[in-house]
């Protein structure tokens, strides 16, 4: 196997050096005309595969195209036009924990995928699937003759190995990844035939396909059995020696170092591991690396509408910069072909717009998938009973919401690019909920003051309000300035608006790890975070019910109650319990229309409870794409569940001549 790999690596060297080496060889060997002409003729006649692959086929170093493609390859309709082969695409990575920057570009090859609009699940590795009526059994039909990037067949055995032997192995995964679990029980995966594999669940799991289309649903296609089984004790008894030779402590560490996992750096740290991705690692993402390069997968299983094998682009080069500013410099001087990560902050937009001409790029609009730009979570389960009573009062929250001058914030902080909003699916989404999204968003200090007066928060000598126990109405809102500088600006304005009501807050700018620790321990008075669930309401409903132990920051103990099935945390009020039930029902309902009704019922309750205070609709972001890079949609979602730009299919991007 290592022989094959070497020859592949060599012939993939970037075009210039490959050409110069060939010229050199021709000179030495003197058989130039004989060797080169059939290759050229073939490439011109067919052009169903990249010229370099055609050359390798002609030299008998690679099987012909029809043997490399599955019998029924996935046909991709190009976004604008059928492309041409060639070119190197440049992107930037940050030095640490930026592995998902690679995942987003190449690693989106799960059993199923999202459409461009982020509304529908489409076939991908699986060409079709059958679901039973109760949504407990899913049979995926794989593509016959499909191959891993090393040419070995991809079959149902690989999927069974990945789930049954890997994710369900207690040493490798202490608990089975949650995408593969429903009702506390993991899926049982069995092989039906070489090209059919069945996932069986104990309880209905209607959201399984949607979850599979997200990055966290990639396990079924992550581990090639023929390669990864050599690091698994079930298949290799001599593993201890290998572990010692690699200077590692145990086999799960070795397995992870070689085969990776969905989102750890070592997924891209081993150039030998076969994948199903359009490009495969050539220079790996390791601790000492200064760049990552990837070359086309000669066995990639997708074609364009002309039947030409994808990807169009030969190679990806991702330079690792330690500093985001140098990434900006690279971008404005035109040395980056497509990028949004790390440069998409609002402050960078003017600089990037001004330099469009010089850098030769255009701006791509990224539709925010979130609902709320800056959600304020008052801790309704605060450890201090007086604070808890204050925050748990709906009218108090209502008064605070009415006290915010949202128009001023939108104009000053977000340059007018948003609208007053609470939470809920974004306008235009089929589940958009008018009341949930717009209630209490008008600026009405008179009414706010009246409510606070009525609740008994009298003004003290300095015009600031006092709680019934005589303490000042004062609380701190946690915010991470390095992550969300705009939230700090917003909160400073909110502080001024609320001071006019007689409510004093502290904008508590803290470091991110501390932010999480305070949240986990339920130590915070209040916190801000962008509110998700705008385009993916059912995948991330943390603001609609207390469901996310790190995210539903208005009541972390309630989420613990929900996640642990009532064993830990605190028992939530009736409205929450009903929503938890409805959410579970919605996830178990395969019929979209019925699911929509259940979700509406849930959102009605959320709107009545009014737990979180929103400011404005999540602001769209942006990225850049070079002018000569085509087939890039000018508008796409920005999300983790829709890991942009992956679902826009970078394999069909191409460079014009």
């Amino acid at each position: 196997m290592s022989d094959r790999k070497d020859s592949k690596t060599e012939s993939y060297a970037n075009t210039e050096s490959a050409v110069s080496r060939r010229v050199l060889l021709q000179g030495v060997a003197g058989v130039a005309a004989l060797a080169a002409s059939p290759t050229l003729a073939f490439a011109q006649a067919a052009a169903k595969e990249a010229p370099e692959l055609a050359r390798m086929v002609a030299e008998n170093r690679l099987p012909p195209l029809d043997q490399r493609l599955p019998r029924n390859p996935m046909v991709v309709t190009p976004h604008e036009t059928v492309g041409r082969y060639g070119g190197t695409l440049r992107r930037g990575l940050r030095g640490s924990s930026d592995h998902n920057g690679i995942l987003r570009m190449v690693g989106n090859q799960g059993l199923v995928r999202w459409n461009l609009e982020f509304t529908q699940v489409l076939p991908n590795v699986a060409e079709r699937w059958d679901v039973n009526a109760t949504a407990t059994e899913f049979v995926f039909h794989l593509r016959q003759g499909m191959k891993w990037s090393d040419g070995k067949p991809f079959t149902a055995d690989d999927v069974v190995f990945a789930i049954e032997d890997c994710t369900k192995n207690a040493e490798l995964y202490r608990s089975v990844p949650s995408v593969l679990t429903i009702g506390g029980k993991p899926a049982v995966v069995t092989k039906v035939s070489d090209t059919a594999v069945k996932f069986a669940f104990e309880a209905p799991y209607a959201m399984f396909l949607e979850n599979l289309a997200t990055p966290l649903g990639q396990h079924p296609t992550l581990f090639p059995k023929h390669y990864c089984s050599q690091f698994h004790p079930k298949y290799n008894s001599g593993l201890d020696a290998q572990v010692r030779a690699a200077n590692l402590s145990d086999w799960p560490t070795l397995f992870r170092a070689r085969c990776g996992d969905i989102e750890i750096p070592s997924r891209w740290g081993n150039a030998e591991k076969p994948t199903l991705d359009p490009w495969v690692v050539a220079e790996a993402y390791t601790g000492g690396a200064t760049r990552v390069t990837m070359r086309r997968n000669p066995y990639f299983w997708q074609v364009d509408t002309n039947g030409a094998q994808l990807p169009y682009i030969d190679q990806l080069t991702m330079n690792i910069s330690q500093d985001v500013e140098s990434l900006m410099l690279d971008t404005i001087s035109g040395r980056i072909d497509i990028q949004d990560r790390h440069i998409d902050s609002l402050q960078n937009k003017p600089t990037l717009s001004q330099n469009m001409q010089r850098g030769g790029y255009r701006l791509v609009e990224l539709v925010a998938s979130g609902a709320q730009q800056c959600m304020i979570y008052l801790n309704m389960t605060h450890k201090d009973p007086a604070m808890r009573a204050m925050f748990a009062n709906k009218e108090f929250r209502q008064a605070l919401s009415l006290g915010i001058d949202r128009k001023e914030i939108i104009d000053l902080v977000y340059l007018g690019q948003s609208e007053p909003y609470q939470t809920g699916p974004r306008p235009g989404h089929p589940w958009y909920h008018e009341k949930l999204s717009r209630q209490f968003t008008s600026h009405d200090p008179a009414q706010a003051n009246a409510i606070l007066d009525r609740l008994g928060y009298r003004r003290g000598p300095d015009r600031m309000r006092l709680r019934p126990d005589g303490q000042k109405v004062f609380f701190a809102i946690d915010v991470i300035p390095t992550l969300y500088p705009d939230a700090v600006d917003t909160l400073e304005l909110v502080k001024r608006h609320w001071a006019a009501l007689g409510v004093d807050i502290k904008v508590n700018t803290i470091e991110r790890a501390l932010y999480y620790t305070r949240g986990d321990n339920n130590d915070h008075d209040a916190a801000t975070w962008p509110g998700p669930g705008g385009l993916d309401p059912i995948l991330d409903p943390r603001d609609y019910l207390a469901q996310h132990p790190q995210g539903s920051r208005y009541a972390i103990p309630w989420t613990q109650w929900y996640v642990s099935g009532g064993k830990e945390g605190q028992e939530p009020p009736e409205s929450q319990k009903r929503r938890m039930k409805l959410f579970d029902d919605a996830r178990a309902t395969p019929d979209i229309a019925k699911r929509g009704q259940i979700v509406k019922e849930m959102l009605d309750l959320t709107a009545d409870a009014f737990e979180t205070i929103g400011v404005c609709l999540a602001v769209n972001s942006f990225g850049i794409a070079k002018n000569n890079l085509r087939n890039v949609p000018l508008k796409m979602p920005q999300a983790w569940s829709w890991p942009n730009p992956g679902p826009a299919l970078p394999q069909q991007f191409f460079f014009t001549a």
Binding site: R256, T286, T290, S333
Partner: protein, 328 residues
């Protein structure tokens, strides 16, 4: 002399144990742990870690154990097997990661040092001997300028000008085709053509301060009676300078060797980050920021060991150069 060296070496053992413990505690001090930082980093790109995975990671890396247990596991591994542990982030052995970057770091630091000394010593001596001459004023002006400009700012400005005005790339140590190429004559030339940028940037502030130190030291010595005596004996002005006052003025330099060795690892972190240099500095900072305990711990331990070694070396050198110093 030998007894002195041996006893100093023996003293280093308890010092290192104490230092390693202290550094481990310091790295543990910030709130949260590697897993919290990891989750927070991903959250910055709106990415989510599977809820089951977070607990898994903590247990797998032993982060759920008390700190003292974590420390002992680590230190026992180092002492008994020379195993510095596994980097959480990269799933690679720590020693592998550190050595991978050491050679280029060494090259960069040594070149910077040579340039700094090569410039600062003669200029410092010159501006002391020709005190208040035009040359002295020029040297003084530029050395204060060099002291005043932070080197990372210099690097940023240089990069901006190169990128925006000339469309050139000054980051990194190799140009595109050579990054992954095996070592060859062409690659060495390429390295040299890139190396001067960071070397000059790094040398600027060092040179500036050394010029000032050297000038002050020399001025102290130049009026001493032994200089007059030597001059009276008829020594040429140059031979006189090199033979007597320069040797004495060099003492402070030799004392600074103690800081040189640890600087190999931790020096120039910010400049290296700005210029995207593949040296050890950025990796150290990264490991500290992501709370990658064992990688950071190994770095800190290495720096401590080098500091101790460096001070020993500079003590020995000082004794050799200046006979007035005793080893008791």
């Amino acid at each position: 002399m030998l007894r002195f060296i041996v006893s100093r070496l023996l003293w280093m053992i308890p010092s290192l144990v104490a230092l390693s413990f202290l550094s481990f505690v310091l790295i543990e001090l910030p709130p949260g742990d590697y897993v919290t930082t990891y989750i927070a980093t991903l959250a910055a790109s709106n990415e989510v870690v599977d809820q089951n995975t977070a607990a898994d990671l903590r247990a797998r890396f032993g982060l759920d154990q008390p700190m003292i247990v974590q420390y002992f596991k680590w230190i026992v591994g180092i002492v008994t097997e020379g195993n510095f542990g596994l980097s959480f982030e990269w799933q690679q052995p720590v020693s592998e990661l550190i050595w991978e970057r050491m050679s280029l770091t060494l090259l960069l630091t040594v070149s910077t040092l040579l340039l700094t000394w090569g410039l600062a010593l003669p200029i410092g001596v010159f501006s002391a001997v020709k005190k208040y001459s035009v040359g002295d004023y020029i040297a003084t002006f530029f050395s204060f300028l060099g002291l005043a400009i932070p080197s990372f700012l210099l690097a940023l400005v240089l990069m901006y000008v190169a990128a925006v005005k000339f469309g050139q790339d000054v980051g990194g140590l190799f140009s595109e085709p050579y990054v992954a190429a095996p070592w060859s004559f062409g690659k060495v030339l390429d390295l040299l053509s890139h190396l001067w940028v960071p070397v000059v940037i790094l040398a600027v502030s060092g040179t500036a301060s050394l010029i000032r130190v050297m000038r002050a030291n020399m001025l102290d010595e130049l009026n001493k009676p032994y200089v007059t005596t030597a001059r009276a004996k008829g020594l040429s002005e140059f031979a006189l300078l090199v033979k007597y006052p320069l040797r004495v003025a060099l003492n402070p330099f030799i004392s600074t060797i103690a800081w040189l060795l640890p600087n190999l690892v931790s020096g120039s972190v910010i400049v290296a980050i700005v210029l995207s240099l593949p040296t050890a500095g950025p990796m150290l900072l990264q490991s500290l920021m992501s709370q990658d305990m064992y990688l950071a711990g190994a770095f800190v331990l290495l720096i401590c060991a080098l500091t101790l070694l460096g001070s020993l070396v500079s003590d020995i050198l000082l004794a050799l150069v200046d006979p007035r110093i005793r080893l008791e």
